[in-house]
């Protein structure tokens, strides 16, 4: 580490971790939007919509200062600079890395540009957080993964479930046999949106609307699905071996796009287990969530919230008596609350329903803490490469309407 008071940073990181251990949902009050004298200097590459969200979250983390940003779009860059006090803009990634103004970078460019930015940053000795998915080709995933293995930096990726306190809590239930034998898995991502970035200059339309460019886009399966597939990889510690997919244009038939707006996938595991996945940008019902169905219970995860639905013949565990519950039509969900025991003792259990921060916040905080402690981030580049490879296979299965084997060799 350079330019960071390591002891102070470690103390901060340890303090944060300890607080999380007590009441995750109430802890990690951001020390702010204030500048400490010893800070991790972060540069953000790409300040479009996701990049600006990153700027906002970094601004709420203590011990961090956004000192630099770059983007090829002047208007976005200007908007990014208005969001951060004291940051410098740079015309290129190389210029930013050469400026010695940053210790770490967040790569928030379009997916197909992740590789060049991540490799350049790691070659320059900068810690890297790369947005999800890791890259748009398996070869790029392998290149980033290889570079991360050889670099003396903390490299993380934005597969956010792994740093999400509700997902971490639910995983302890899953791994401790509360679900018992896993029967099947299902996930969806419904969000009514155009997937179009409006631009005043028609000449830049294709650049900004890369998600609708079939040459570089991973479609719904890769851009949205990979993030969710990783939750299943993380919980089950296994990967699917084959993907069957179908896609179609259901909501946006008239604007000439080729990337499907509605997809369905079936991800097969070697023991016959199935993960069903559907995504659409034509309807928002029930948003994004993942469900594990077991013989004793189902666990439903919806990013800021999580629930367990127990079967009537499942053994009773003591903590359920005090649990917060929520009705879903005929089913009653036990709300999964991080730090529930302590909150219950304080009579504040209801306060723990839902997370106060975004998943992005927790993922970035985890990366910052890993840099401070020299530890391993919740989502390593290797895990990101494998999750992305599954997303790439799923996208290929959807586009080509044929079964595609998942190849994780060398990742």
């Amino acid at each position: 580490m350079t330019d960071i008071d390591r002891r102070q940073f470690l103390a901060h990181a340890a303090g944060t971790a300890a607080a999380f251990a007590i009441v995750p949902n109430l802890a990690a009050r951001p020390a702010g939007v204030f500048n400490a004298s010893n800070t991790l200097r972060v540069g953000v590459i790409g300040v479009g919509r996701q990049g600006r969200a990153v700027l906002g979250e970094l601004g709420s983390l203590s011990g961090v200062a956004v000192t630099a940003m770059c983007d090829t779009d002047e208007r976005r860059l200007s908007a990014g600079l208005r969001r951060v006090a004291g940051a410098q803009s740079y015309p290129t990634i190389d210029a930013m890395l050469a400026s010695n103004a940053v210790d770490a970078v967040v790569v928030a460019t379009p997916t197909h540009m992740h590789k060049d930015a991540a490799l350049a940053a790691m070659a320059a000795g900068k810690h890297v957080y790369c947005e999800c998915p890791l890259a748009h080709t398996r070869a790029d995933c392998a290149a980033i993964s290889q570079a991360a293995r050889g670099a003396n930096v903390v490299a993380a990726a934005g597969f956010q479930g792994r740093a999400n306190p509700v997902y971490q809590l639910a995983r302890t239930f899953y791994r401790s046999d509360s679900v018992r034998d896993m029967v099947t898995m299902r996930a969806q991502n419904n969000n009514k949106t155009s997937w179009v970035v409006p631009v005043a200059d028609r000449a830049t339309h294709k650049i900004h609307n890369w998600r609708l460019d079939p040459d570089v886009s991973l479609g719904l399966a890769g851009e949205l699905g990979a993030q969710q597939f990783d939750v299943f990889h993380w919980y089950t510690e296994r990967y699917p071996v084959r993907v069957i997919g179908r896609g179609s244009l259901r909501a946006h038939r008239e604007d000439g796009r080729e990337v499907h707006d509605t997809i369905n996938c079936m991800l097969e595991y070697d023991d016959g287990a199935i993960l069903q996945y559907s995504a659409t940008i034509g309807n928002s019902y029930e948003g994004a969530h993942e469900v594990f169905y077991g013989t004793n219970a189902a666990i439903k995860l919806a990013w800021s919230h999580g629930w367990m639905f127990k079967e009537s013949d499942a053994p009773t565990q003591g903590w359920e008596v005090y649990a917060n519950r929520q009705q879903f039509h005929n089913d009653e969900g036990i709300t999964l609350i991080a730090g529930a025991t302590q909150l219950a003792e304080q009579g504040n259990l209801q306060d723990g329903v839902g997370l106060p921060y975004t998943s992005l916040h927790y993922a970035l905080e985890d990366w910052i803490n890993a840099i401070g402690s020299g530890g391993t981030p919740a989502c390593t580049i290797g895990e990101a490469a494998r999750a992305t490879a599954v997303g790439i296979a799923a996208n290929q299965a959807v586009r080509e309407a044929r079964p595609v084997d998942v190849d994780l060799t060398g990742l």
Binding site: S60, R82, V196
Partner: protein, 303 residues
């Protein structure tokens, strides 16, 4: 309606926003028009997350928690917004004041039940240092609350965005009380907005490239008290107007002044140039211009 019209509604900032994008300065596919409306939603949600006092992670919540203990560094957008809010406080003689946050809690407007009034308030207890782009509170009981101006602020940002994207005609509102008219209607006539949609006798304002803000104490009532806080008195306004409407170029300015005017209608004379007001007291509407129904063409002067 032309094919390229886009509509979108969404919940944010404790209310419902609606956008209608009706015309553009170039041919635009319907999907792209819809995407522009989505941008507006993203912008509102983004700023809701920063300005709300109901979420502990918001920038305003962080300021409220820390600014007495140490200077809190602000990004340029937030710093400038707070600076303008303090300007509005000075201009309105303290009738608009973002430091009512603790007062709102003390009088039960935020928690749902009246609390102990140990709050501090007053813009003189806020120190903004432009050199370091920081804010500091001079009293531990001070809390800011931008609820009275947030919608106007984001509507002005939406106008910037829409102008940059070539939107020539649009109407956006948040909860019907904060309205932004971009251009005129596609047929060239002004956007017509009734000052209070649930009052059939309320005047209709004609808006072209203008904003409108309506403040009224008829919304939330706690312990039989109206929800308009009078910062100058440190308690809910005793005899507010029934409604105050301000129309003019900036939605943010309209928001600040409508808040002030509903508490003290006599401030109408101090309205900035280019702005006009309508005040309802009892059943009568009184305009800062001669006509009870204002339109740019019929208003002889802004005051």
């Amino acid at each position: 309606m032309p094919d390229q019209t886009a509509m979108r509604s969404f919940g944010a900032m404790g209310t419902r926003f609606e956008c209608v994008l009706a015309a553009f300065d170039r041919p635009v596919h319907r999907t792209e028009a819809a995407a522009m409306a989505e941008e507006a939603e993203f912008l509102v949600r983004d700023w809701h997350g920063r300005l709300t006092v109901f979420e502990p992670a918001s920038a305003v919540s962080v300021i409220n928690d820390l600014a007495f203990r140490r200077p809190v560094s602000l990004d340029p957008e937030l710093f400038d917004l707070l600076a303008r809010c303090l300007d509005y406080t000075r201009a309105t003689g303290g009738r608009f004041d973002i430091t009512v946050g603790a007062l709102m809690h003390a009088h039960g407007f935020r928690s749902g039940k009246p609390g102990v009034p140990d709050a501090a308030w007053g813009a003189d207890l806020v120190r903004l240092e432009r050199a370091g782009s920081t804010v500091r509170f001079l009293d531990p009981g001070l809390r800011i609350d931008l609820g009275a101006i947030a919608k106007g602020f984001v509507l002005d940002l939406i106008r910037e965005d829409f102008n940059a994207m070539g939107v020539a005609s649009a109407l956006v509102h948040g909860g019907t009380s904060s309205v932004l008219a971009i251009g005129s209607r596609p047929d060239g006539s002004a956007w017509r907005v009734r000052a209070m949609p649930d009052d059939p006798d309320a005047p209709v304002l004609h808006l072209t490239n203008e904003a409108l803000s309506v403040s009224a104490p008829s919304g939330r009532v706690v312990a039989s008290q109206p929800h308009i806080m009078d910062p100058a008195a440190g308690c809910p306004a005793v005899d507010p107007a029934d409604a105050a409407c301000v129309a003019g170029p900036s939605a943010e300015v309209c928001e600040a002044w409508s808040t002030a005017l509903v508490i003290d209608p006599s401030l109408t004379a101090d309205l900035p140039d280019g702005y006009r007001s309508l005040i309802r007291k009892g059943s009568a509407w009184r305009s800062s211009v001669a006509a009870s129904v204002c339109s740019p063409g019929s208003c002889p002067s802004p005051r």
